[in-house]
Amino acid sequence: MHEEMMIAGFGGQGVLLIGQLIAQTALVEDKNVLWMPAYGPETRGGFANCTVMVSDSDIYSPVTSEPTSMIVMNLPSLNKFERSVKEGGFLFVNKSLVNRDVFRNDIDSICVPVTEIARDLGNVKAANMVALGGFIAKKPIVEFKTLIDCLPKVFKGTKEKLIPFNKEALLKGAEYVKGM
């Protein structure tokens, strides 16, 4: 198993955070792991993205031009990165903020209204967790249970109180995708 995953969206959508949650989970599962944020000019105009690599073998190159899977949280990110997904790869799209279909037909893709689902749950900010839950349900690069167990590793100190709600958002995302 060697996954090169990319998560892209606007700054503030929590794409770096869910990347770190996957990385922490993969570490607990004793896999090799690397997390790398885009920084510098790539982030101008409000773009945020990170790459997470999870592997059973050594991870060499920390950058990839062909991610094996991707979560995009908004339209500009889909426009920018859709072409780069590896043939046969998997693309997860936040349908709430993307008003078009996926062009690629040589990859597996699903569109889920994660922002709306999060809003219905009570906080639009949890859209990232809804997306991650849905993504893992379809593409289990880490175990769902370990993912939940690792929430305290990214919500520490005063943020600890956010764990139950984010757990609910993860579960809701997974449930939605399984029902599709």
Binding site: W35, M36, P41, S65
Partner: protein, 348 residues
């Protein structure tokens, strides 16, 4: 073995420095290494150390000079343009034979350039940078775990040889997160009888880089050269990757560039181009010994995030035995796996 934790490269520098007994940090902020001073600003006071954001890079390096004279483990860090500003002080520290660690998390130049990763400070790091006949021990990490290991080693080598050491990373490594094992590490800091600790009851110590008499200064230079020769003999470090009896082509790359090159080596082997790799870990002393046996090698490809700097040291080490080709990109761009592969196909 301890528990593995995820850590960013820049934070790992700080964590390793504290574990190595570094108790003074003087610096001035600059991207892409600012997480490091931010980390040390929080952590240094907790271990009774000093964190000070100076008014400039020049002030910071001279504070480093002062603290090292007093015998403490001390570090500064910056990124390329800031390191250029520190060069006068670095030359003084080398002349005064003081152990310090200088971190350069490189960005692309020349000039103010940009904050993206680069290896274009290679010449500055290994060929001088400041004035005078001096050398820095230069270490190049490739993973966050190696950040920890080489920061500790850098302090040890600086103390062992009473000379400044430089930790030379690329912006990319400062930003990425990987698992590290901090281990059960206890620093072994030697006695420093030469330090300026107050001379009550002993002969006074003098720390200086000023030698007015040319004969004396030449003698001082010859002593420095003896020390550098010893470092060159003892401290060459490198990693070999698939550099086996089958290898016909050899890539040479350091730092994060070597990781991208390793992915290219694996792909090249899959398509039948028998490739191996040498990753220099010490950039000075350059690991000439790694190039001792090239009898099966047809060509060498040097890959850098620069327009070609380390390639000169590869050519010196190879000394004409095998043709040496170069591929590099500049300005914060870096050679990709596919580009390296393309270059290998081209030279084959």
């Amino acid at each position: 073995m301890g528990e593995k934790i995820l850590m960013k490269g820049n934070e790992a520098i700080g964590e390793a420095a504290i574990s190595a007994g570094c108790r003074c940090f003087f610096g001035y902020p600059i991207t892409p290494q600012s997480e490091l001073p931010a980390f040390l600003a929080k952590k240094m006071p907790l271990v009774g150390g000093v964190f000070l954001q100076a008014e400039s890079e020049i002030a910071a390096i001279n504070m480093v000079y002062g603290a090292a004279s007093a015998g403490v483990r001390v570090m500064t860090s910056s990124s390329s343009p800031g390191i250029s500003l520190k060069q006068e002080g670095i030359s003084y520290i080398a002349g005064a034979e003081l152990p310090v660690l200088i971190c350069n998390v490189q960005r692309a130049g020349p000039g103010l350039g940009t904050i993206q990763p680069s290896q274009s400070d290679y010449f500055q790091a290994v060929k001088g940078g400041g004035h005078g006949d001096y050398r820095l021990i230069v270490l190049s990490p490739s993973s966050v775990q190696e950040v920890i290991d080489l920061i500790r080693l850098g302090f040890d080598l600086a103390d062992k040889y009473k000379t400044p050491a430089m930790f030379l990373a690329e912006g990319m490594l400062g930003q990425l997160m990987e698992p590290v094992d901090l281990g059960d590490y206890k620093p072994n800091i030697p006695d420093k009888p030469w330090a300026l600790t107050g001379c009550k009851g002993r002969e006074k110590n003098i720390v200086t880089s000023l030698w007015i008499d040319p004969e004396e200064l030449e003698r001082h230079n010859l002593e420095l050269q003896k020390k550098y020769a010893k470092i060159k003999e003892n401290e060459q470090r490198w990693e070999e990757f698939k550099f086996d009896d089958e290898a016909e082509y050899l890539i040479v790359a350091h730092g994060t560039m070597a990781r991208i090159a390793k992915s290219a080596v694996i792909k090249a082997r899959e398509e039948g181009i028998k490739t191996g790799l040498i990753r220099p870990i010490s950039l000075w002393p350059y690991p000439e010994k790694a190039f001792a046996n090239l009898k099966n090698i047809k060509k060498i490809l040097v890959v850098e995030m620069s327009m070609g700097q380390m390639v000169e040291d590869v050519r010196l080490s190879v000394n004409g035995r095998v043709p040496v080709e170069f591929f590099g990109r500049a300005g914060g761009m870096f050679p990709t796996v596919n580009q390296i592969l393309g270059k290998l196909r081209e030279i084959k």
